[in-house]
Symmetry: C2
Subunit: 477 residues, 2 copies
Amino acid sequence: MIETKDADVIVLGAGLAGSLLAVYLGRRGLKVKVFERRPDPRKAGYAGGRSINLALSHRGIWGLSGVGLEGAVLKHALPMRGRIMHPVKGDLAFQPYSADPSECINSISRGALNIALLDAAERTPGVTVEFGREAWAYPSTEGLSANDWPSRPIDKTSAGNLTVGRLRAPVYIATDGAYSFTRHHCTARDRVDYSQSYLGHGYKELHIPSAADLGLGSGHDGWALDPQALHIWPRGGAMMIALPNPDRTFTCTLFWPWEGPHSFANLKSDADVGAFFERHYPDVPPLMPTLAADFAKNPTSSLVTIRCWPWVWSEQGSSVALLGDAAHAIVPFYGQGMNAAFEDVRVLDDCIGRRSGLTPEALDEYQRLRKPNADAIADMALDNFVEMRDKVGSPAFLYKKRLEQLVHTLAPDRFTPQYNLVSFSTVPYAEAQRRGRELDHLLERLIPVIPADKAASMGEAAWKARVAALLHELAPR
Amino acid sequence: MIETKDADVIVLGAGLAGSLLAVYLGRRGLKVKVFERRPDPRKAGYAGGRSINLALSHRGIWGLSGVGLEGAVLKHALPMRGRIMHPVKGDLAFQPYSADPSECINSISRGALNIALLDAAERTPGVTVEFGREAWAYPSTEGLSANDWPSRPIDKTSAGNLTVGRLRAPVYIATDGAYSFTRHHCTARDRVDYSQSYLGHGYKELHIPSAADLGLGSGHDGWALDPQALHIWPRGGAMMIALPNPDRTFTCTLFWPWEGPHSFANLKSDADVGAFFERHYPDVPPLMPTLAADFAKNPTSSLVTIRCWPWVWSEQGSSVALLGDAAHAIVPFYGQGMNAAFEDVRVLDDCIGRRSGLTPEALDEYQRLRKPNADAIADMALDNFVEMRDKVGSPAFLYKKRLEQLVHTLAPDRFTPQYNLVSFSTVPYAEAQRRGRELDHLLERLIPVIPADKAASMGEAAWKARVAALLHELAPR
């Protein structure tokens, strides 16, 4: 049991998850110290992760709304109502995310969101945030303690000015992301199951300026492409996506193999890049005047799935816990990394309420509630990459999605598409995965009976009636 | 590129793999420095891993024979020709490992083997071994360098006497075991796939004294049990095994779940232990006068499978490589951990020969040759635990094994049991796994046609003729 403490809880990392967590913990009346390795983004400019916009959906909004932050955040966001597919040749195709047009995902800047959450954390009584402090916690026989910091000086010139000391708190929560230092130390303990698995694909961001800057006239209300959608260039084994920004630009992300014909390794010169885009992404070069320079300059980053168990270590009266990407980093193809982290925060807060405090029992309940759901969204995010890059452009896939929405409309209390459960509900991810599989199994039985060509020949009303009859037969109530 | 070097190669860890590796590398004319965290076992008494005897089989002998060490080692070993199963009630059952009685596995003391290999390393020109030195290597932008050591003092009193310095070599090879420090650092690099997966079972060692010390008279030539076999007490979900030692004792190992009815957690007092063994292992208490004390005193340890990729990092003219358990720790149920490590060593030496030196290309060839085989033995070792604890006692399993040996005898050039390929050949593990699956598939087709009861009723000769005819039909040449 620790005898003196510097805080009730130390949060390691003031990114999206850590900042929101600090707000919740402060509202519980706890004294919260937050340490962030990077400098204050409000002073130094945002230097966070390289993914500069994110898709905020229902779970993330639920996480924000528990402390009344959803309004302040959503005013910076742009709703996206579906996907627009860009084929190599031919017309764009729009596919709505939901039959209900009010259900959308929201493009938001990581930097703006982090700053809004940091401001909220610092406004919360009991919460202090220190920047430029690298710390981690690990369970030790002397109680759990933040390591002497700075353990790894942020840069050599400033190292001499940083306080070296040992901080103590009964609870440490690591929200320091996919490459969590705390987790790295904790995985060296006995009987910690852990895996890190990298995709054979990397990602690189590119930029589409506003319609005005491109000399395109008004464009789509000032954007070069429709800003009410997520744009996808599915290329089978590789893809590009684009999300709108409030300044009427788009941030594009290539998800390409590291090696092979359609890969980062394959493009060695500016001329290679230009010729490759003209061939495989022909509508893109006119929208990217700085394509070759951005391609050369912007980093190519890796994509990892992290699984760990346990997430919480409680010994001798003090605890270390992992939350968000530190516990369960996932690939970005379901747009759920941040949403899952915000859901973690609110579920942990619920556990604190039920257990009357931030106790080892509350932390244990949190990890047991969240682990199966984290595993489920990790799997679904990997599956969705295959869907987005390989299937989304195919007529068979588009027909299956139409059929899925019809089944949902015919029996909304029994069948909801997995995408909708994940993005527009707080149904636990593991249940969304299970129900998604059930619906998929049903669709795989319907399609051979009413394939796409037959549906096309029978007319909308007859098709709907036939599906309704089959549904009654295959899945009787 | 490093400019000055302290050695041609630094080996981190002077356990079984590191000591044998040093012998091979020294014979290649390289200047080899070996660092070992523990004290010299020849002076301090052996303080190595807790598993005090091991099963040396064909691959391990092949690894030793490349430098002529097999004779010196085998003289300390006891051959085991099969398994003897101990049921709760009823007779012991012997199951030979091979139809060829010359094929056996060899019980050997980890301590004696390590000392023999250390002696051989130190006799090899160019090789030096330093004890009490904890070091690790990691790839860095300054070239790959052994970290300042001692990074973690071995004990507080001696820390002040250890040299702190930075050592440089063009190649570092980490042979520091399942919990490798070097690997732990390297897994923090980008795009390193890694997993550590613990069994829900732990292990604990127990002791059977000699027949004389038990007052059993001559027993089996002085041993309390037959020393020419590995003894198994399969209990379905849990088991005990015993291996003979040259001093006429046996080392027993419990492999039990951590939690549950047949578990370590379930036995809380000496009385619990005694009653539990009387009930589930009734032939054991008479052989273990110190059972309750040993059970309370001896540690319970965990069982882990480690997978990692890559195993080699080469940058700026210098390389770090993992070998043995550091690259691919496996569970002990196939008796292959040490054998796989010795095979690693000889394969690496072959690569050095083919590539004319310990070059990045030689290290890369080593990792590409070994990785699929390490994955295969990891899987087979996990599968074999299920076989040993759950199946080995059942009549159906014993019949399947008899049939397997018969098929092998009828078509030895086409069908060899997986156990034999793994334990009595150097057929690559991945090929042993594939051929084992093929044979298993054939047996699963034979058994419904000639089940055990039918075989029993038809007599040996008729059974063999019927199997031969079926084999001709199901697997024509």
